[in-house]
């Protein structure tokens, strides 16, 4: 059952990749079928879980012993518990929708089959990530999604920018993976096991240092995968990939893996105050940074990417709040999965309509041209900025609330974040759908085909009702309780005050954006003379510049130096040695000067030498 979840999409990927051109004709449909059937399996599992009492809802499946060396035992075991199933549904559900969407979006690409193979591969890897029952197996899914993301970002390999972006994503993720490896090693040497349950059971016995270190290592891993500060730079470049990819991987699912990891490892974080604080700080920084970047982007996808960063910042922050936050982190993760995917698909649909132009300054007044897109995007917009009763409101508000409960500054950070989010989303909305048309000539915006709009509509529904559904029908906090422990919101700031305040901030941000971009005409070319802040925001807050200056350039210099050293230093030394002997030889030959008498003299000298040594010994 559980294995089938992973097996189906994996099978799909294998068939499409090995099948080659033969599968071109039906490949995409096959992939959709695989993903969809995975979704249905997920649903079935979910239903069967509902049928059981909350204690024994979790299902474990032992496949085989993966690695067993000395005391290092890693079973190839899967586990479906309340947390995993949430992800399973999100991944397969949104995943399937995006598969369908891609049929339309990629219809003209000659490599469409490959694209769907990669999508399936991604779904499989992501499912393995959330279904593994130990950290080491999780690692496999963890890098698996990294690979899929690499392949999909650089899907249009003929574009150098895409190729570079893919590589960058993988390498930066590898930096995060270092964290995960270290975490696994630390767990092994501290607890002697790397299974979730095992670690959770032993955690209490662990000394604070190890716990702290494990926490930090996990956080590093999360930063890499979830594009958190300081490893955020890759996400914006990742937008080079086809838009469905951005929607699925870089908005809905993969980038949230970091949140999953931290929640999964709650046993560690529960016990380490320091680690939690670190998580909160990182989350806070990123949510502001991302939002900040979002404000100045003219590239619609990059704008959304910035927003993704900041939204995940919220989740991370929530996860850092400890037991009170875990639930809300996941809650926001799920809602965000829906509306952000919707927004990205909308953006994709827009680009589809304007010949893949991503510059919002060339948009405007599209609401007439593409109504469905406008509506669905708009609903997503309302959801993300957190207007009640849309999805975002429920989850984000909870986080802000919990944040205030933790610490006033964190609370303020989340609050400001909400405001900025409202600002840049409104800006995006305004620049894209309102104002006068600023279309390039030869561009005739048109609505996308149904195969693309249908998923958008479904996701729009999600962005409207998702929040309420999860909160009231699914009553998510009690659902997750067996996994993440009980949340007891001991809170001095009551929601009754907080909600209005938040709303006010949000509206203020939105209003300001509307005034600036909705009312006044938007220049077609981005104004050059802008405030330092705007410039910083446009340059992703100089994240790349810093990487460039701190890692790349010194690294390349070091490399060059070493290459020189290798040939001149090491090899040179050896060559020098050989040369020295050759020189000795060349000199020594001269002693052999051909004169018999000098040979005789040498012999005399030799005799003297011998005599000398003999007498020397005697003394």
């Amino acid at each position: 059952m559980t294995a089938a979840l992973i097996g189906l999409p994996l099978f799909g990927a294998t068939v499409l990749l090995l099948g080659g051109r033969r599968t071109n004709a039906w490949g995409h449909l096959f992939a959709v079928a695989m993903s969809a059937s995975a979704f249905f399996v997920g649903v079935a599992t979910f239903v069967s879980m509902l049928g059981r009492s909350s204690e024994d809802r979790a299902v474990h499946q032992h496949l085989f012993d993966w690695i067993a060396v000395g005391s290092f035992h890693v079973p190839f075991d899967l586990q479906v518990d309340q947390l995993s199933i949430a992800f399973v549904l999100l991944i397969t559900g949104v995943g399937t929708l995006i598969h369908i969407y891609s049929i339309g979006y990629m219809s003209h690409d000659e490599n469409r089959r490959k694209f769907f193979a990669y999508l399936n591969l991604f779904v499989a890897a992501m499912l393995l990530l959330v279904l593994a029952n130990n950290y080491f197996l999780l690692y496999v899914g963890w890098e698996g999604v990294g690979l899929a993301s690499y392949l999909l970002i650089s899907f249009w390999q003929h574009k150098p920018s895409a190729a570079v972006a893919g590589k960058k994503a993988f390498v930066v993720n590898r930096v995060g993976d270092v964290g995960l490896s270290l975490a696994v090693m630390l767990m092994f040497v501290t607890f002697g096991t790397v299974t979730f349950d095992g670690v959770a059971k032993e955690a209490s016995k662990g000394d604070s240092t190890s716990l702290k270190l494990i926490g930090f290592a996990l956080l590093l891993a999360a930063c890499g995968k979830s594009a958190q500060f300081p490893l955020q730079s890759w996400l914006l470049d990742a937008m080079e990939g086809p838009t469905p990819v951005s929607a699925l991987i870089h908005a809905a699912t993969m980038v949230t893996a970091g949140v999953y990891l931290i929640v999964r490892a709650h046993a560690i974080f529960d016990l380490s105050e320091t680690a939690r604080t670190a998580v909160v700080v990182i989350g806070a920084i990123t949510l502001l940074l991302g939002a900040f970047i979002g404000t100045a982007k003219d590239d619609i996808k990059k704008g959304l990417a910035g927003s993704t960063m900041s939204q995940i910042g919220y989740m991370i922050l929530a996860a850092g709040l400890g037991p009170v936050g875990y639930v809300f982190a996941i809650f926001h993760l799920l809602t965000h999965g829906m509306f952000k995917a919707g927004l990205f698909l909308g953006a994709g649909s827009v680009m589809h309509g304007v010949n893949d132009d991503v510059n919002m300054r060339h948009y405007g007044a599209l609401r007439t041209a593409m109504k469905i897109t406008y509506v669905t995007f708009g609903l997503g917009f309302l959801a993300i900025i957190g207007i009640p009763p849309f999805a975002g409101f429920w989850s984000k508000d909870e986080i802000i609330h919990a944040a205030f409960g933790q610490n006033i500054f964190i609370g303020l950070a989340t609050l400001i974040g909400a405001g900025v989010t409202a600002f840049y989303m409104t800006r995006m909305m305004a620049m894209t759908f309102f104002g006068e048309a600023r279309w390039e000539k030869g561009v005739h915006p048109h609505e996308s085909p149904l195969v693309m709009t249908a998923p958008m509509m479904i996701l729009a529904v999600g962005s409207v009702f998702g929040g309420m559904a999860l909160k009231f029908l699914g009553n998510i906090d009690s659902w997750l309780e067996p996994v993440v422990g009980h949340a007891n919101p001991a809170n001095d700031v009551s929601n009754t005050i907080l909600i209005p305040v938040t709303l006010a901030v949000v509206l203020a941000g939105a209003g300001y954006a509307w005034v600036t971009y909705g009312q006044r005409p938007v220049p077609v070319v981005a104004p050059a003379e802008v405030s330092l802040l705007t410039r910083a925001a446009r340059n992703d807050a100089y994240g790349d510049a810093i990487n460039e200056a701190v890692f790349m350039r010194p690294g390349l210099h070091l490399t060059r130096a070493l290459v020189w050293f290798d040939s001149k230093g090491i090899d040179g030394f050896i060559a020098g040695l050989a040369g020295f002997i050759a020189a000795l030889s060349a000199r020594g030959r001269k002693i052999q000067n051909g004169y018999t008498r000098s040979y005789a003299l040498t012999m005399l000298g030799g005799a003297a030498l011998i005599a000398f040594v003999l007498f020397l010994v005697r003394l």
């Binding site: 050989a578 052999q592 012999m603 030799g606 005799a607 005697r618």
Partner: protein
């Protein structure tokens, strides 16, 4: 002591020397046309008979009075000719090796189809190089059969050298083996100026060194009152500290080290190897070294064995110098014969390790080494003698470029011999090296072994370089040709190659033999 001459025990030597006398008579009385055939019969016959006699007596005496002491068969112990000749295991083994070398050497001497003008020796040594009558003699296809008596006497001397048990006999043997070689060195058919120069240098320096040897013997005699090794050994034990004695040892060492070509008494080697006729170099390079080392070991183990602590340091110095200088100077050589000469110096150094170890293992390992080295040397120079261009042997390395393409078989055989010299496993050279090094470490001269390792590393370079030339470098216009020799050379090469491989792959029987050969008789 009763004066007696055990003719039986001395038979091999006697056979060879008698053969030498006979072959002079042949030169004197047999018409030219028949000489060669007769000489060849005489030479090969005498060698074979001598060898058979040697083997027979060796086994017979072994079975007879092989006294087992200390788990090791002491081998044969007999003093012949009133104690001036020692017939013992090592001696017999050396003689056997020498006879094999002589046999193969003789085959190379007899080769006359590689050089269109005849064999490797001048039609008339007495004629002036480039003179009219030289041209005539050559044109008439005359060849010198005088080489055979000289050859036989040289062999006789070699046989006597390692078994001579007193300094006088040793001196005489030394001269008997050297004088013919001095002459033969000057008899090359081509490049006669070089040949004569080689002969002159070899002679002058040889005589010089033997004078050292003789004066050394005189000094020893003045102390010990006898030149007989046994007596010397006993006499010396009470007069260890006498300076005259040390001087004597030193001078004798000079004489013998010259013959084995140890630094700093090696300088004749490159010139003589390069100038002399190649068959002679093959025979002399192998034979002299074997005989001289036999003598060297006997002198220093038997006569001066009691004072090893006096002379070992001296040998340390010589060994180190020999190994390093030999291999270093070889690196930049451009003439193949000269390069091999330097490498022979380096190998002398390796065997000196065994000498310095002064142990039974040292002795036996050196015996094995000499046998292996003998075969390899013969093979190497046999191949050199068939790689020729219009002007004779092509000894310049550049002419060996691309030889592997022209004649894969010959080139690979040569490569095999080179690998043996370099000490690649599964060749005789490696087994020999291993035996000697092991003896060295066991004998407490590990530093020497380290030096040996380093110099082998250096040596590997110039052996490999020849392989590179032959196999990896494309052939050019002045690449030499490989002439097809008669069966003499073919068999010689084949035998040497086989021996090189067998001694590398299945050396056990020979190793047993050298161990069973036991120690020197005192």
């Amino acid at each position: 002591m009763k004066t007696s001459i055990e003719y039986a025990a001395l038979a091999p030597i006697e056979i060879l020397l008698t053969a030498g006398v006979l072959s002079i008579l042949i030169e004197a009385f047999v018409p030219r046309i028949h000489r060669r055939t007769l000489q060849l019969f005489l030479v090969f016959g005498s060698i074979v008979v001598a060898f058979g006699y040697l083997v027979a007596s060796a086994t017979q005496i072994l079975n007879g009075n092989a006294s087992v002491t200390g788990g090791q068969t002491q081998g044969i112990r007999e003093l012949a000719a009133s104690g001036s000749v020692a017939i013992d295991g090592p001696g017999l083994f050396t003689q056997g090796t020498l006879l094999i070398v002589a046999f193969i050497g003789a085959m190379l001497f007899a080769e006359r189809s590689v050089d269109p003008q005849g064999d490797a020796f001048a039609a008339r040594a007495s004629t002036l190089p480039g003179s009219e009558d030289e041209r005539q003699f050559t044109a008439q296809g005359w060849t010198q059969t005088e080489v055979w008596p000289l050859f036989l006497f040289a062999v006789g001397g070699m046989l006597l050298f390692p078994v001579s048990n007193d300094l006088l006999t040793m001196f005489v043997a030394l001269e008997v083996l050297s004088l013919p070689l001095y002459l033969l060195a000057g008899m090359a058919r081509r490049r006669r100026l070089l040949s004569q120069e080689a002969s002159l240098k070899y002679f002058v320096l040889g005589a010089f060194s033997s004078a050292f040897f003789l004066f050394g013997s005189a000094l020893i005699y003045s102390i010990a009152g006898s030149v007989e090794f046994g007596t010397i050994a006993t006499a010396l034990t009470n007069t260890l500290q006498d300076p005259i004695l040390l001087a004597g040892i030193g001078l004798i060492a000079v004489g013998l080290l010259f013959k084995v070509g140890a630094v700093p008494f090696h300088q004749w080697t490159p010139d003589v190897y390069q100038g002399s006729p190649t068959p002679l170099v093959a025979f002399m390079g192998a034979g002299t070294k074997i005989a001289a080392f036999g003598a060297l070991f006997r002198t220093f183990y038997v006569a001066f064995g009691g004072m090893r602590w006096e002379w070992r340091p001296m040998m340390w110095v010589v060994a180190i110098l020999t190994m390093l200088i030999g291999s270093i100077l070889a690196v930049t050589q451009s003439d193949i014969k000269r390069m091999l000469a330097y490498s022979s110096v380096a190998h002398t150094g390796f065997i000196l390790i065994a000498l310095t170890a002064t142990s039974p293992a040292g002795l036996s390992s050196s015996l094995f080494y000499l046998l292996a080295y003998g075969f390899t040397t013969l093979g190497l120079f046999a191949v050199v003698s068939i790689v020729r261009d219009s002007s004779g042997e092509a000894t310049h390395l550049s002419q060996w470029a691309g030889l592997g393409k022209k004649s894969p078989l010959v080139a690979s055989t040569f490569a095999l011999f080179l690998f043996a010299l370099a000490g690649i496993p599964l060749t005789s050279g490696f087994t020999a090296k291993f035996a000697v090094f092991a003896a060295g470490v066991a004998g407490g001269v590990t530093p020497l072994v380290i030096v040996a390792v380093i110099s082998s590393a250096i040596a590997a370079f110039f052996y490999a370089r020849v392989v590179v030339l032959m196999f990896f470098t494309p052939e050019n216009e002045n690449t030499a040709d490989v002439v097809v020799p008669s069966y003499f050379t073919k068999v010689a090469i084949a035998v040497s190659a086989t021996a090189t491989l067998v001694l590398g792959i299945a050396p056990q029987p020979v190793l047993d033999a050298v161990v069973n050969a036991g120690l020197f008789v005192r």
